[in-house]
Each structure stands twice: as C-alpha cells, then as structure tokens.
Assembly symmetry: C2
Homo-oligomer: 274 residues x 2
C-alpha cells in the first residue's frame, strides 16, 4: 500500500469508508449504516480500533452500541495503547476474522506512533487487500493517506507553517485528507498541506459526511459535502520561493464540491457525471 506514489490508485480489493468526523450515531446513522452494510450487514464481524483516543472504553462502548443496534452481533474493541499491543495475538486473531475494521477519532499521531509497522498494522493492510472494509472517522480519516496532516491551524490563509505533515497509515496513497472541513474553516490548511506535494489530491470531508471507496472510485454519503482540490494542473505556486511563515500563492487549481450521491474517479481525477 505504501508505494509513495502520487496517484490515489490501489490494487486493494477492499473498501474504505472515510468519515469527516461527527457522524450521526443516534438518528438514521446513514454513514455507519453504510459501513456496516459494506462489511456484511448483520453478518459483519467488526473490530473497533480505539488507538486514536484517550478515552478508549467510552468511545469503544459508543461504537459497539451503534453497531449492535444496527444488527451486528460480533463487535470487538482493540485498544493498542502501546506498540507492544501491536503484536497481541488476540488482536491479530480478531482482525483475521473481521469483515470490517473501524478507527475512531482522537489524535491521528497516536495511530501512527502506536500502530504503524506493527503486526496488527500489517494484518489490517493484508485483510484490506483481501477485501474487507476499513473505516475511520476524524483522526481515523486523517490517517488514511501515505502522507497525512498531523495537526494544523484552521481559519487561516495558506502558509507552509500552518500544517504539520507526516507519514500516515497508507490505506489510500496519493491524497491528503482533512476532516471537520468546512465546519472548521480548513480550506487554507488543506491548500497548505498540498503545497509541498501538488500532484496529490486534496479531500476536505465535512462533518457527518463520508467517502466510500471501492474500485478506485468513491461515492459521497451524508449531510455535507466533500471539497476536492486538485493542484496537478496549477499554472503557478510560490512554494519554492517563500519562507515558512509567508503566504502561499496557488494559481489555476481545480475545485469540486460533491454532496451525497456524487461519485468521483480517482484514476481520471474527475467527478463521474451521468
């Protein structure tokens, strides 16, 4: 998965459900319902990964309750609170049997520092390549690319120093994912994240909104929209000329805003319009 390429195309047979945070857990649960449906419906076996959060019991219980309410009998919580937990045989066995693995929100740096390169990480990637569904919300969404946003400032114009980038978990290479997107005014932060790697696609996912990816295409699900910034065809950027705290310029980027039901082709980098 971690090819380092700047195309968001993978050969994995699995699916990804990448959620911009704050997904509905009490009403229709449109997004979590779709995750469960793709993971096998009432026959799904779901592992909830609480590695990102400092409140694993509480957050794990919340998702267990939702998935059980939707009819899933087999829900297990795995909390890799340290790297040692990343080779826990019980965790490896649960992932081996899982049809869906779900990463909760929290801090994406906890996901990479505790999990990246462990046996559990390898097992999830292998199972994903074989066909299971990997989902994640908020921090669990941010970690999906090979290079991820670790943290950054919201509500600012683009500057190199407003965002800290680092290795992600590599489920979807060639993109950058930001979440709570328009709700927290993160356009400047997403453009900053793309500054050093204009060939990757930027996806800004709103709260209670998700992209469900299979066969190198995604479909938008939920209440808000997904904002796509494509800098691959830009006519100018000043990133090579400025210092870290100076304002970025970008000319000629492509912008798409896609709400529920819209589809996007990762290979052609274009919305799929009927």
């Amino acid at each position: 998965m971690e090819t380092g390429e700047t195309t968001p195309v993978t050969n994995a047979r699995g699916q990804l459900v990448i959620i911009g945070g704050a997904e509905d857990k009490e009403g229709d649960c449109t997004i979590l319902r779709e995750f469960v449906r793709r993971a096998g419906g009432t026959q799904a076996r779901i592992v909830v990964m609480t590695v990102a959060t400092g409140l694993p019991d509480e957050v794990g219980r919340t998702y267990t309750e939702v998935f059980e309410r939707l009819g899933v009998d087999d829900v297990r919580i795995i909390d890799t609170a340290s790297r040692e937990d990343g080779s826990d045989p019980r965790a490896l066995e649960a992932i081996e049997k899982a049809t869906g693995v779900f990463f909760t929100g929290g801090d994406q740096a906890r996901i990479t520092s505790n999990l990246k390169g462990t046996e559990v990480d390898a097992a999830i990637h292998r199972r994903y390549a074989e066909g299971i569904v990997v989902g994640g919300t908020s921090a669990g969404a941010a970690m999906m690319p090979d290079i991820m946003i670790i943290e950054g400032d919201s509500e600012t114009n683009p500057r190199v120093n407003v965002v800290e980038m680092g290795p992600g978990m590599g489920f979807l290479p060639g993109v950058v994912i930001d979440q709570h997107f328009l709700q927290r005014g993160r356009m400047g932060r997403l453009i900053s994240a793309l500054a050093q790697q204009p060939a990757v696609l930027g996806f800004g996912i709103d709260e209670n909104t998700a992209i469900a990816i299979s066969d190198n295409k995604f479909e938008v699900i939920g209440e808000g929209a997904v904002t796509i910034v494509d800098e691959s065809g830009i006519t100018h950027s000043n990133v090579g000329e400025i210092l870290k705290d100076e304002a970025l310029a970008v000319c000629g980027a492509r912008l798409h805003v896609l709400p529920h039901g819209y589809k996007f082709d990762l290979q052609t980098r274009k919305p799929i319009l009927d």
Copy 2:
C-alpha cells in the same frame, strides 16, 4: 456602473480599494496607507462614509485619526443615517471635492437601504468614473458588486439557503465579494453566493488584506490572501435540481489563492504572472 453584466470590467477611471475587514490601524497601516497614497497622499481629501455602522461617531473618529496620522489634513465624516441625508448639500459638496471616499464596516444592508439611488450615491459614482479612489472595508467591501451578499452562514457546506443576496452599490459589477474570508470559514458561503450566477467571479478577501483595482486589474495588499473562485467553466452544477436547503454540487471550478503583491486581470479572469 450598474450594467447588470457578468463581466467585472468597467470604464471607470477611478480606483477601488476593497478590504476584507480588520485592517491594521495601529502598526504600519499598509492597506490604509495605500488607500491614502492612491487618493493623493498628504494632498488627499478624504470622505469617510459611516453609513454601515451603528457607531458612526466612534468609527468615524478612528478612521479620521489614522488618516490624519498618515498626513491627510482634509478628512470629513459623512453619516447618511437616513435617506434624507442622501441629498444633504454639505455631503454633496464634500464628495465633489474629495479625492478618496472610504466606506467603513458595519452592515452592508444599511449602505444600500440608506444610500442606494440617492444624490450622494450618484455623486460618488460620478466622481469614481472621473478618477477618485473609492475604498471600503468589511461591509464596505461586500457592497461593491452589483449583486452583493447581504448576510449568510459561515462554516457550512454550500446550500442555496445559507446566503441572502441582494442589490449592491455597483462599483464593481460581475463579481461577488466576501470578507473576513478564511478567518471565518466562508468558502461554502462564497460558493453558495455564486450558485445562481456562475458567470460572475467570486473574491474571498481575508482580514487585513485588500485588492486595489485600477484599469480592470487588481493587486493584492496585506497579510492574508484573496481566494478567487471562477465557476465560468464548470462542468456541472446541481443548482437547477435541488431545493433550497439541499447541498450544492459544483464540478470543475477554478481556484486561485493570491497573497500580497500578486496581480489579477479582470478581463482575462487570470492571475498576471511575470
């Protein structure tokens, strides 16, 4: 000026300085300094229009102090608190002699309701056509187009009902201007404002940032950036198919982010790159 055309090109000989709000008034005053310079420097005769604000004395005094500190001896405050004030002979005389007219922040609906169509409005437009500088910050920026944002929600994905549009003062037709732009997360609001009129250009101006327009070109001044959304070449929009509270889709818009020193050609709709 109020041609209703969807091209931001005018024949006016004057200049516009359009500020995204919260411009520096205590430090270098980069933007207000540029306004004064363009209005004639220490020889400038400036009229401060406080029509937008409910605190005309306080706000008028603040700008008078800044302009005087920058060396302007002739600063007059005009407060058209009612439409009757829009034919005040003293105001008309001051505008006749002015080299610069500056609109403060406040509520842009107060500018149009109190001033639009009055003799003072006509005088400012005539003087602008003859060559003076018209500046405005925040509400004084929003009012510049022929169709303006009256009010709207920040930090939301685009929907038709998140923004209320209405007639503006028509100094710069063919554009929509939003202010406090990235600081308040207004990307969704700007795209909503463009939904019904994709041929116009959207300018999102950050705080302490301005565009200075002359000869159908602008230059960016200040700390942040100007975000330009150009929907004239979009491949798809769902605005004709959705209801007011449903999420907008826009595919294939053009996006530019221009910081201090960058220039943009309103006729070609492109950044001017050396």
